[in-house]
């Protein structure tokens, strides 16, 4: 299917004589990659690391905040509303501010990635934790369970399917956040490559970077899916899968 599309693309570009800087043909994109493979791979790895760090932080902080929100009415009313408000602010607008605060290294990029990725993780974790069957909680109470035991042994495993859903969206957002950070803070990464290439009308390189981004996006999503398939073997959602 993909092969057919690529072939069609190639033919259209060649047949119509489209200029390279408008829409390069697939063969040209591949050529461009092999012109500097080590450099491009290095940038990809940079982006991947920043994404992983931002995502990791988003998971830790997101799940942590969710637990707080579920167990504290005060936090539910304050922290939750604050995060909703913050989410409405486009991170692109915040990015230059982060560079001022955190410098031009990786820190602002990780921060932006984390801020964009945290929201779906937070929302889905809160939903998952709150969706515990009340009768199961009654069963826990008659078994003298403390709140901590209920959280760890019942609420949390029960919430895992939701948390994974949030993580699948979140990891994609973390990648987007990293690119946004790279546009602003620059220096390295695929976002930086795109920016520089655009500036010099080097469209083939832009496409190479985009293709590599797609690969990163798919890889990170698939990784989460793999973990999901291992840890959620018991869940209805996994029964109809391959």
């Amino acid at each position: 299917m993909v092969a057919v599309l690529l072939l069609a693309w190639e033919k259209v570009v060649q047949g119509l004589g489209v200029r390279q800087f408008l829409l390069p043909a697939p063969t040209q994109i591949v050529e461009q990659f092999f012109a500097a493979p080590a450099y491009l791979l290095q940038q990809s790895i940079d982006t991947l690391i920043t994404t992983a760090l931002g995502f990791g932080l988003a998971v830790v902080l997101g799940v942590g905040a969710a637990i707080g929100i579920v167990y504290s009415r005060f936090l539910d009313r304050t922290l939750y509303s604050l995060l909703v408000a913050m989410n409405a602010v486009p991170k692109l607008a915040l990015a230059p501010l982060f560079v001022i605060w955190l410098g031009t290294g990786s820190a602002p990029k990780v921060a932006i990635a984390m801020l964009i990725a945290i929201f779906p993780i937070l929302i889905d974790t809160v939903l998952g934790l709150k969706s515990t069957d009340p009768e199961m909680l009654a069963m826990a109470r008659v078994n003298q369970a403390t709140r901590a035991r209920v959280l760890w042994k019942i609420r949390f495993p029960n919430a895992l399917p939701s948390i994974f859903a949030g993580m699948k969206v979140g990891v994609s957002f973390a990648l987007v956040g990293t690119i946004v950070g790279e546009f602003v803070a620059g220096g390295s990464g695929l976002g930086h490559v795109i920016l520089v290439a655009q500036g010099s009308f080097d469209t083939p390189t832009v496409f190479v970077a985009l293709a590599l981004l797609c690969v990163l996006g798919v890889l990170s999503f698939k990784l989460i899916e793999l973990l999901e398939r291992r840890w959620l073997k018991w869940h209805a959602s996994q029964l109809s899968a391959h």
């Binding site: 009768e135 199961m136 009654a138 069963m139 008659v142 078994n143 035991r149 042994k153 495993p157």
Partner: protein, 260 residues
């Protein structure tokens, strides 16, 4: 000497937006240690509410509810509950589901693992210890839930329509298994059902509850020999008891369309 479980003029009133709902009115029954008490009544008569109060899940609005002379304010230790739904954890295998009971209590698993296996074997689930709940039928799942309630050897066992969702064959089987367990262990059982036959088959006494407001209409002692088997259900004494109780419900106007 006061009785094992004392319920004396217990009332439970819920305050809702639509006004006060008198769920339980002046409930009084004294349960002796080792007794099997069946409670039967139509939906809305408060039998599940009563069970929740005994289990310490809901506070009573007035009256005295004491277990071994201690007023029940929170779930007492030494009690097992089997709910209407099996409430198994889909992410744990059968053995781990039974062992969740000591885990939630903060007790070490290892101490109870042998007994958990014994119980599962006793209830015919020996081959399924490593299986997951989704692989089991409704009847098997409810058996797991019974094993879980029995694991810590509670003196009081509460059962809230535990077999309501099961087919009649499985139900009869489980009735026999529960009776066997009770005869072997001498626990005190409070068993809620909406089946008159089940109540008479299992109980030493049957509490007849009515609704509007939830109250005890009558308590019928059941003098049938133990152990009771399938033949018992066909005996004239059994049939007479069931008829007597059904007549009571008829008198109370419970049967309008003929469903309990």
């Amino acid at each position: 000497m006061s009785d094992f479980l004392e319920i004396d003029r217990v009332n439970k009133i819920y305050e809702t937006e639509r006004g006060r709902f008198h769920a339980l009115k002046d409930i009084s029954v004294s349960i002796k240690q080792g007794e099997f008490l069946s409670i039967v009544g139509p939906s809305g008569c408060g039998k599940s509410t009563l069970l929740k109060c005994i289990a310490g899940l809901e506070p009573v609005s007035s009256g005295r509810l004491a277990l071994e002379d201690q007023i029940v304010v929170e779930p007492p230790r030494n009690m097992g509950v089997v709910f209407q739904r099996d409430l198994l954890m889909e992410w744990r295998n059968i053995l781990d589901n039974v062992l969740i009971a000591p885990e939630l209590h903060g007790l070490p698993r290892s101490r109870y693992e042998a007994r958990a296996r014994e119980l599962l074997l006793l209830f015919g689930l020996g081959k399924f210890m490593d299986s997951f709940p989704r692989e089991l039928s409704g009847g098997m799942r409810q058996r797991v839930s019974i094993c879980r309630a029995l694991l810590l050897d509670p003196q009081l066992l509460l059962m809230d329509e535990p077999f309501g969702a099961l087919d009649p064959f499985t139900r009869d089987e489980l009735n026999a298994e529960i009776q066997r367990t009770w005869l072997a262990t001498g626990k005190t059982v409070v068993f809620i059902t909406h089946s008159i036959e089940e109540a008479v088959f299992l109980g030493s006494r049957v509490v007849i509850m009515a609704r509007g407001p939830g109250r005890i209409e009558e308590i019928v002692p059941i003098e049938l020999d133990r152990p009771r088997g399938l033949e018992t259900r066909e005996s004239s004494e059994f049939v007479a008891y069931v008829k007597r109780i059904r007549d009571k419900f008829r008198e109370l106007g419970i049967y309008k369309g003929g469903r309990l």
